[in-house]
């Protein structure tokens, strides 16, 4: 997995070298592995992505902890829209390398909250961060769990099935060998028919 992730970042650069005009489109539509940078002032890590790219510089933001990751790095960037706000929630968790398997999980969640005109505003009760009000709705969006289950069952399960379809540990049952023989025979017969014609 590590090799594929590294290759993806290099591939983007290679395409841009060939067709420089694709640069902006590529960088904003292809998700790159999240990079970690350090805010030396606060002494905390934060994550870089296209949304806080701002030309070629990045902006730092406050962190957001999640019980699902038992560690890792997360960053949230919010920006105003005409009727509401949008944000990106980034999470990066690297495996600890134990059991000789390495991995990395990158999450990029993009949310848009639309506040309908005339809707009652959340009551301010001395809290500075009004966006807390929206937290339960955002948190209950279970996309990540669904994707994680899909990855586990369908994607990994499917590739395992494909491997076992390429080669069989047990001797192939005789009917499969028979089918192979059938295929070879029908090929020969087809060729014979062509000659006759």
């Amino acid at each position: 997995v590590r090799v594929i992730v590294r290759v993806c970042a290099c591939d983007c650069v290679r395409v841009i070298v060939c067709v420089p005009s694709l640069c902006e489109d590529l960088l904003s539509s292809v998700d790159q592995p999240l990079k970690i940078a350090r805010d030396k002032v606060v002494g905390k890590d934060y994550l870089l992505c296209d949304y806080n790219r701002d030309g070629d510089s990045y902006r730092c933001s406050t962190e957001y902890r999640d019980l699902y990751f038992e560690g890792g790095v997360s960053s949230v960037y919010l920006w105003d829209l005409d009727h509401g706000f949008a944000g990106v929630i980034l999470i990066k968790k690297a495996g600890d390398g134990s059991k000789k398997i390495k991995g990395c999980w990158d999450s990029i969640h993009v949310v848009e909250v639309q506040v309908r005109a005339g809707a009652p505003l959340p009551v301010q009760t001395g809290i500075n961060n009004v966006n807390c009000f929206y937290l339960p709705n955002l948190g209950n969006m279970d996309m990540e769990n669904k994707i994680r289950s899909t990855l586990n069952e369908i994607y990994f399960g499917k590739t395992k099935d494909i491997v076992n379809g390429l080669r069989s540990i047990e001797s192939l049952p005789d009917n499969q060998k028979y089918r192979q023989l059938q295929r070879e025979l029908s090929q020969v017969l087809t060729q014979r028919q062509i000659y006759i014609d």
Binding site: C18, F69, K158
Partner: protein, 289 residues
């Protein structure tokens, strides 16, 4: 009037061809045409691509152990570096033939008689026969090719196995390859093997499994038939072990590593109650106020 490209443009072309070749060489099994067509669009010059990346097309087929078939034969031979005779021609040691291979169309033509190394033929033939039976027994779509060659003065047997399934309509392709070598110069030989698997599944997503394993075992050299039998036994055991390990790894990955990256449930074993978090936070801030 002579028109000469400036050095800068020539350098840029060289860089682009190198990049195009690199993309092509790394095309997943069964997706050469798609990558080739995409790369054509990027480069926007068919001449540049054909001239500069011709080596990449050949390299791809040799790396992938692409099977080739001559008209009039149901038997297939693998395109590999060991059978490369130069000038686009390849050796089929089972049929004692050479043929021209079109790397883009993947077509074989112009067969000619080609002897190969006569001294090694009994060993080669014995190994080929034993290996064919093994491949038929374990690979639903497998092909094998065995060479007998003297390399650096050592008489060497090289066995190549390939099996693939391409199902682009179902958004997946897969291929396994293995290459096994031993020399017959000493009473005990070192069998060296490399096993490779690559699977690409891209239905509403993009997942690749790319795996390889190196193997080394000892083999006692007796007569041709007995040695071939032991050789294939080593191959069978190693490839079974490898396939078992991959299947077990999937389970381990699911149980441990994947969970270490992202749990299905929090440590508390219940989903987060977001409304509770909100009220804790409000409570905390009210305390601090």
């Amino acid at each position: 009037m002579i028109f000469q490209l400036s050095t800068a443009v020539q350098l840029q072309h060289k860089k682009e061809v190198r990049i195009a070749a690199n993309f092509i060489i790394h095309a997943p099994p069964g997706e050469f045409n798609e990558v080739f067509n995409d790369v054509r669009l990027l480069l926007n010059s068919d001449n540049l691509l054909r001239e500069g990346a011709a080596q990449a097309f050949a390299q791809y087929n040799m790396d992938q152990f692409t099977p080739a078939k001559l008209d009039g034969s149901e038997d297939q031979v693998l395109i590999t570096e060991h059978g490369d005779l130069g000038h686009g021609r390849f050796f089929d040691p089972r049929k004692k033939q050479s043929f021209k291979f079109d790397h883009l169309r993947k077509e074989a033509s112009e067969p000619q008689s080609h002897e190969g190394e006569v001294a090694l033929r009994p060993w080669r033939d014995a190994c080929d026969e034993a290996l064919r039976a093994y491949v038929k027994d374990h690979y639903p779509t497998g092909v094998c090719t065995v060479y007998g060659k003297t390399i650096d003065g050592q008489q060497t047997i090289i066995a190549c196995i390939e099996g693939h399934q391409f199902q682009p309509k179902n958004f997946w392709n897969g291929r396994c390859r293995s290459e096994w070598k031993f020399t017959i110069s000493q009473p005990t030989a070192q069998v060296v093997g490399v096993l490779k698997i690559q699977v690409h599944y891209y239905e509403d997503g993009n997942v690749q499994l790319v795996s390889h394993k190196d193997v080394q075992e000892s083999l006692i050299i007796s007569n041709e038939v007995q040695t071939a039998k032991e050789f294939v036994k080593i191959i069978e055991n190693a490839e079974n072990e490898y396939q078992t390990a991959i299947t077990e790894n999937y389970q381990t990955m699911s149980d441990t590593t994947f969970k270490a990256l992202r749990r299905q449930l929090p440590v508390t074993r219940t989903k987060i109650d977001w409304n509770k978090i909100l009220s804790y936070k409000i409570g905390k801030e009210m305390q601090n106020a």
